[in-house]
């Protein structure tokens, strides 16, 4: 494989984590404009763990997921009772606050004769754990897709379990779910935290892939894109958001056919697609048909 293809595939894998986190929230009936904030928390804490504290990457990733989940739970705790646009705007406000905090975040130290660490708007350079260990781009691609496969496996198990059905019930009608004895607020908090951890996992991998992150990476564009990926791909299965990312990055970036007109073509197609299938390509009905046909 040439370097370009590996790069595109890696980006698809990295964005799949944020798209999956938006998908998880959407299946529970919530729309978040703020997953980019937790992606950023993951990127910063993962980078700090390996580049500044000298911890190995797996520990850094765990730390990132922990911080991402904690940040999301904090946001979730104060916004649990909000729904729809109110929840979306609250998550957007939280993510924008996080982005501004990244801009104000200065913490640098000497590591191996070099100053590394977050430097406000100048960004955070030198997250080189992957390269210092001699991991080739192809090797990193395997790491990303290995983690993605693990995530998909978890989702597949989740969606076949009772918890998965409960989640869908919450997404369909929270009031009814509450009357059926589901602890709506607790479940929602758990979903918000899990989605935060997922986005943070993607962020930590993103930081180690890029070696350089800056607050601008985590603005609203990333959050709304991940929402769009989930909805284009479909809300019926976890492969939906993955398909959404692959469609955007793979087909259009890969072919380079529409250079300069890319968003005109893609934006129009997405709007038309949503008229035809308002819950995405792999929507619940289609997935159900796939599972039950003989």
């Amino acid at each position: 494989m040439d370097e370009y293809a590996i790069g595109v595939l890696t980006s698809i894998g990295l964005l799949s984590f944020v798209a999956a986190s938006a998908y998880l929230l959407l299946t529970a009936g919530e729309l978040s404009f703020g997953q980019q904030g937790f992606f950023g928390v993951g990127a910063y804490s993962g980078g700090i763990a390996t580049a500044m504290l000298g911890l190995p990457l797996p520990v850094g990733i765990l730390m990132a997921m922990l911080f991402g989940a904690a940040a999301a739970a904090l946001v979730g705790l104060s916004t649990l009772r909000l729904r729809g646009l109110h929840f979306a705007m609250a998550t957007l406000a939280a993510a924008e606050m996080l982005r501004i905090l990244f801009e104000l975040f200065h913490w640098q130290m000497e590591v191996g004769g070099e100053t590394v660490g977050p430097d406000g708007t100048q960004g955070f350079r030198g997250i080189r754990w992957v390269f210092e260990r001699g991991v080739e781009p192809l090797g990193f691609l395997f790491i990303v897709y290995g983690m993605l496969a693990f995530m998909v496996l978890c989702f597949v198990f989740l969606e076949r379990s009772k918890l998965g059905a409960t989640l869908r019930a919450l997404g369909e009608d929270p009031q009814l779910a509450g009357m059926l004895g589901i602890d709506v607020l607790r479940l929602k908090l758990a979903v918000v935290a899990a989605a935060g951890a997922l986005a943070a996992l993607g962020g930590a991998l993103f930081a180690h892939h890029n070696t350089y992150i800056e607050p601008r990476n985590f603005d609203i564009m990333l959050g709304v894109h991940s929402l769009a990926y989930a909805l284009i791909g479909g809300l019926g299965t976890v492969f939906g958001p993955l398909l959404g990312v692959a469609l955007d990055l793979g087909v259009l970036e890969g072919t380079r056919f529409f250079q300069g007109y890319r968003m005109i073509v893609f934006g129009g197609l997405v709007a038309l697609l949503l008229v035809w299938r308002p819950r995405g390509l792999l929507d619940e009905r289609f997935v159900h048909w796939l599972r039950t046909r003989r």
Binding site: H86, A90, L101
Partner: protein
Amino acid sequence: MIDFIQNTLDGLTAGASYALLGVGFTLIFGVLRRANLSYGPAIMFGAYLATWASFSFKGLLLLAAIAVAGTVLAGVYVERLCFAPHRRGPAAAAMVASFAIWMQLEEFATLLLPRHLYAFPALYEGGPLNFGPFFVRVESLLILLAAVATCIAGWGILYATRFGIAVRAVIDDPRAAELSGINVGAVSLRVFAAASAIGGLTGFLIVASHEQVTPMLGMWSTLKGMLAMMLGGLGSLPGAIAGGLALGLIEAHSQWYLGPQFRDFIAYLLLFALLAARPRWMNTRSAY
């Protein structure tokens, strides 16, 4: 004290444009119960058309008309493609579709004018007015005046015409309105066009008073408009005006007392705190 008053004046004048954006957002939200993410990009599209036209002639009234026409055109396109098909369906699809068109409109605009910065003819050539130790820009007064005029006109239409009654009926309860014979689709389209006209005028006033346009205009207008709408409690026009003015005041004061990086931070913090606390006037019950 002088600083405080000067900041308050600056905040109120900046708030006037936020209030106008908030009014446009609220009108659309009121009839559709959907947030139109591409409201700002439609404004940007109109402003870019006007900028492009300004290379050939400088008549401000004509440029304003072009900005308004461009924004209305883009707005109607958005309504037909993203909102009319999703009037009954889930709100997420309409919002994501409007985001897709956001990307499309931005690319249209940047294909038309690819540089990062373009000059725009000035709204007013003279300097600021002085009132003792304070000064106010004439451009800001014009925006304030436009905001007041828009509100009066909007009020008149909403409360004194048949169309206004239909609009209020749809805002109140779309189903009941439909059952009593109102063509909800046509009302939505017209309200969308009217909100876009307000947006186009606001966009023109903003770029003419800054004397420049940048590709940030689209995202900026969407974010400020949504903030003004949410701070005002979502769904009421006087609320959106109050929300816009409040946003301007918060930004001006936090920039002065806490530094430029806190300018946006405090506004988001306040919005988050208000949403978390859910005061009664915020109307946080209605979903979408």
